[in-house]
């Protein structure tokens, strides 16, 4: 059967709609075009569905996409809770899951499946990239502002371990509830701690508000470095450089890295309804779909998901956005990660000229080594 249906199970209406959303559908369509498979007689389509950040809705949608729309692969799925729910359904149905927008390292850890291929970032990478690079660069004392739920706590724990391993110290932390509007109390404590680095173990609106208010309270001017552990280019765009300048963080992708990324990003921007530059999640969706299609072409039939994933693992990855890499046995895709610093308004020369590269973390160092993996697929 030469029909492939791609399900973009995404947050179309809420906090992740900008980092994934309809943009991931755009990216997937670009991948289909670039694969050139339609010319060879394949019929490939993309269906987007809004999971509303509800795991139950995500699971039901996935089930339905697979049963009724004959979806062969589910992509993106930001929000770890939803991604984990979707992973279970995809495995049961023996299809393929490429969570390019979800952060939980559990997707290739305890919850790994033979049907999951995890692209782009994960909590391990973010913690190690940012924590390791900044500590090595001299940011020895840390204070964390942590979202009080599993994602935040995991990020903080992972980063703490790296900081300590690199010889730094953690002076303290503050747990804040999810979706806090006002961070001044927490920032005041962070300021009072005199830590060199304030790590933000939170996401989305929480991250933006903490950065904005840190600027207001003169924290960055006071010499402390703010290190958001998860930051998207759309977040920086939303804050404006005046506020965001000087932030240091890890990302797997930046549109202005080289000619390949630039060309692709400009194409994307033209197609994106909001005319944003692509986020790392959307880049991951492109790369993931492209690699998936290659594998399907090799296998000749998308219906057996595990078989396709096995092929994905056998093929080396190669695309203009992430370069060359591999898909490991646990489903993790390895590629380099980068430590960026946000430019000052003066340094920025043209629209979306936001980042400068501080350090590159090679592919083999960026992700959790298999030796530490708790994925049942990894035989020790």
């Amino acid at each position: 059967d030469k029909t492939i249906v791609i399900g973009n199970v995404n947050d179309m209406s809420s906090l992740y709609a900008d980092t994934g959303g309809i943009g991931s559908e755009v990216a997937a369509k670009m991948a289909i075009e670039d694969s050139g498979m339609e010319k060879k007689g394949w019929k490939i389509s993309v269906i987007s569905a809004d999971h509303q950040n509800k795991p139950d809705v995500g699971a039901t949608l996935t089930r339905q996409l697979i049963d009724e729309k004959h979806a062969d692969v589910i992509i993106d799925t930001p929000n770890s809770g939803v991604a984990l729910a979707v992973a279970a359904v995809v495995k049961e149905k023996n299809k393929v899951f490429i969570p390019s927008g979800a952060a939980s390292a559990a997707l290739t850890g305890a919850a790994c499946t033979p049907n999951t291929v995890h692209w782009t970032y994960d909590t391990y990478e973010l913690a190690h990239g940012t924590g390791g690079a900044i500590t090595r660069a001299g940011g020895k004392s840390w204070f964390f502002l942590t979202a009080d739920y599993a994602f935040g706590k995991a990020l903080e724990a992972d980063t703490t371990a790296v900081v300590k391993a690199e010889g730094g110290t953690v002076l303290g932390h503050d747990l804040h509830p999810l979706n806090t509007a006002d961070f001044s109390s927490f920032l005041l404590q962070a300021q009072a701690s005199k830590a060199q680095v304030i790590g933000l173990a939170n996401a989305g609106g929480d991250t933006i508000n903490s950065i904005k208010q840190a600027a207001e309270f003169g924290i960055i001017k006071g010499g402390q470095t703010i290190a958001p552990l998860l930051l998207f280019i759309t977040d920086v765009n939303a804050m404006g450089l005046k506020v965001a300048q000087g932030l240091e963080f890890t990302s797997s992708f930046y549109w202005d890295m080289n000619d390949g990324t630039r060309a692709w990003a400009k194409r994307f921007q033209a197609l994106d309804p909001a005319h944003h530059m692509p986020t790392q999640g959307q880049a991951g969706a492109y790369a993931g779909v492209l690699h998936y299609l290659k594998a399907v072409e090799k296998v000749g039939d998308p219906s057996d998901g595990a078989k396709v994933v096995a092929e994905m693992k056998a093929l080396p990855t190669d695309d203009p956005l992430f370069g060359k890499g591999t898909v490991r046995i646990d489903g993790r895709v390895t590629h380099p990660a980068y430590l960026f610093k946000v430019k000052t308004p003066e340094e920025s020369k043209y629209p979306w000229d936001y980042y400068k590269l501080v350090a590159t973390i090679p592919a083999d160092k960026a992700f959790r080594p298999l030796s530490e993996s708790d994925c049942p697929l990894v035989k020790k």
Binding site: T19, A181, D182, G205
Partner: protein
């Protein structure tokens, strides 16, 4: 170093003043809710959306507005916008946004809310809940969810070191502005004849009208005023928080709790409770930060147990 319950006094004072700032927003929002509930008997679930619109309005006044050409004219993936320029400062926004949003509020009241006057107030709650969903959905469609930047007005950037904390000038301004507006509102409603018209009209609009008072107009203006208060809070919030479509959605639930604790419809109650709870929340952030998102609800449950009409509520 001396400590108060294990906290250095500096930290404590710092948190108390921060609590006061948050309380300023609670007070303004709950005041608007109380005015609307007290006078129209409507629990205005759309209050959060209106607050958000206030912030967006400030943004548009500063940056101009891109109005979309409808997608059926422009094709699905290539939304085109027409730009209407405008460069009005924060101060203009502080004046104009409440008026503009208040006018929108009055329009909604006239065409929608007025139709359910006199019905059980559950219907008011449901109608405004629906309105909130529509407004927030429309803004999300147009502006995404991560929000737009709005900078602190030039005259108010920077701050002062108070010894125990760094107090940004802008936040000090917020507290002052909020206290002034709250007090003025309280005065008009509790100390003038207008207030007694409003209260009487809540109970029996047709009779008050038969005394010669143009009740429908008064109700529309009142709703507009309550909404304008929320928009005012929204403008104040824009430089501190992100201008986001959902900025009011979660806040509103907390503000409801504030109004219930203060006593539904009580003007003074909502002001005092607004500031008070801001401070209590600030303290919780020091002693048990995780609970800060919920302390208001715990207090609400306790208050309802002990004094079901709320702290300042009149018995029904």
């Amino acid at each position: 170093m001396p400590t108060i319950f294990g906290m250095p006094p500096q930290v404590l004072f710092g948190q108390l003043s921060l609590g006061l700032i948050n309380g300023s927003f609670y007070a303004l929002l709950s005041l608007g809710l109380a005015v609307i509930f007290g006078m129209l008997n409507i629990v205005n679930f759309a209050h959060g959306a209106v607050y958000m619109m206030g912030a967006f309005c400030a943004y548009f006044l500063l940056n101009g507005i891109d109005l979309p050409i409808p997608w059926w004219m422009a094709g699905h993936f290539s939304l085109m916008n027409i730009h209407f320029g405008s460069h009005l400062s924060f101060w203009w926004a502080l004046l104009l946004a409440p008026i503009i949003v208040g006018a929108i509020g009055m329009f909604l009241q006239r065409v929608l809310i007025a139709r359910i006057a006199g019905l059980d107030h559950i219907y008011g709650l449901l109608l405004t809940f629906g309105l909130a969903a529509i407004l927030q959905g429309l803004f999300q469609n147009q502006f995404g969810s991560s929000g737009l930047p709005y900078e602190i007005p030039d005259g108010l950037s920077g701050g002062h070191n108070l010894g125990f904390m760094f107090l940004p000038n802008y936040r000090a301004f917020v507290v002052g502005a909020s206290i002034v507006v709250c007090f003025a509102t309280w005065f008009v409603i509790e100390r003038t004849k207008l207030g007694s018209y409003l209260r009487a009209a809540t109970e029996n609009p047709s009779l008050v009208r038969a005394f010669g008072i143009n009740v429908p107009l008064m109700i529309t203006l009142t709703y507009g005023f309550g909404v304008a208060l929320a928009a005012f809070a929204g403008v104040l919030a824009a430089p501190i928080y992100q201008v986001r479509p959902l900025m009011g959605a979660d806040l509103i639930i907390v503000v409801f709790a504030v109004v219930v604790i203060g006593g539904m419809g009580s003007i003074l109650g909502s002001i005092v409770t607004g500031f008070g709870l801001g401070i209590v929340e600030g303290l919780t952030k020091v002693y048990y930060p995780q609970a800060s998102g919920i302390v208001v609800f715990v207090i609400m449950a306790i208050v309802l147990l002990i004094k079901p009409t709320g702290l300042f509520g009149r018995a029904a």
